[in-house]
Symmetry: C2
Subunit: 144 residues, 2 copies
DNA sequence: TTAATTTCGGATATTTTTGTCCGAAATTAA
DNA sequence: TTAATTTCGGACAAAAATATCCGAAATTAA
């Protein structure tokens, strides 16, 4: 459904948020270890999130990544997906018939648009903090 | 949403079905031209559909691809997708957290499963002939 | 039988996605 | 100031998806 990059991005964001809640900044190293992702590749993705303003970073000893407390409830999954995958998710038609005449939609059109809209809605309505509430038991659930 | 291979496969199947209804067998060449897809790549995909028993092929002059009339109403989009992309569509979790403990689902779980189930239902409930009925005006809509 | 047509199958090439390496820049602390 | 730590950025590498090439096999018709 999503690209690997997107999966890593979401998982990383969840972990960062979880630690930020407890006032901890987390290093790339610990993130990659926690979410079980390739370190250097994860770094690239984190940079995208930083540039998009979804995550804050600080260099040097004691540095790392964090998300300000008030942002955790604001940030939606859709923002993370968009920062990484762009609007790939929202454009075009499942059949690859992007230029088909919208005035004569195929029978699949309504159903297809509906499924995609549902996915979009889900991502837009789900904030980062919502994902944390189910993880109170531990971080096990972020690993494969 | 789908792979390119899958898109070409669906479009090709639609065109073959449309022509088969009128008793015409269609060549790889005409398929690729009609659905605007790379010829050799399309050939590979058609072979997958043939091996899966969704499409019939005949070699030699006058040969080509076809779908028996009675099969056109039977074949579901899900079968085409499955023949090409396998069960990629149905497995795992959108976050890539496949081994997370299902007893402690994150808040996204229900929503995510629902979206995927809707997509699956849509594909399973849509037969090839349904897609044809919207195309009576012409084949223009199969091109980009 | 011969030639033409068309799918089949394997090898190869290109592009995109995923992943790695390494040095530079920033920050902190000794 | 120096050394250590950590993110940043660009170049590079590997893997997967997409796409091409070409000859073999099957079929048809002359
Ligand atoms: S009408 Fe059918 S083919 Fe056209 S965009 Fe909608 S789903 Fe795709
Ligand atoms: S509970 Fe959450 S993380 Fe686990 S499979 Fe479901 S959606 Fe994915």
């Amino acid at each position: 459904m999503f690209s690997k990059a997107c999966e890593y991005g979401i998982r990383a964001a969840i972990f960062i948020a979880l630690q930020s809640l407890q006032g901890r900044r987390v290093s790339l190293k610990s993130i990659a270890a926690e979410i079980n992702s390739p370190e250097a590749f994860t770094a690239k993705i984190l940079q995208q999130l930083v540039r998009s303003g979804l995550v804050e970073s600080l260099r040097g000893p004691g540095g790392g990544f964090s998300i300000p407390g008030d942002r955790i409830a604001q940030i939606r999954l859709s923002e993370i997906v968009y920062a990484i995958d762009g609007d790939k998710l929202y454009e075009g038609c499942g059949l690859g018939l992007e230029q088909c005449d919208a005035r004569y939609p195929c029978p699949l059109h309504d159903k297809f648009v509906e499924v995609r809209r549902d996915l979009r809605n889900m991502l837009e309505q789900t904030s980062l903090d919502e994902l944390l509430t189910g993880l109170e038991v531990g971080l096990t659930y972020l690993r494969r």
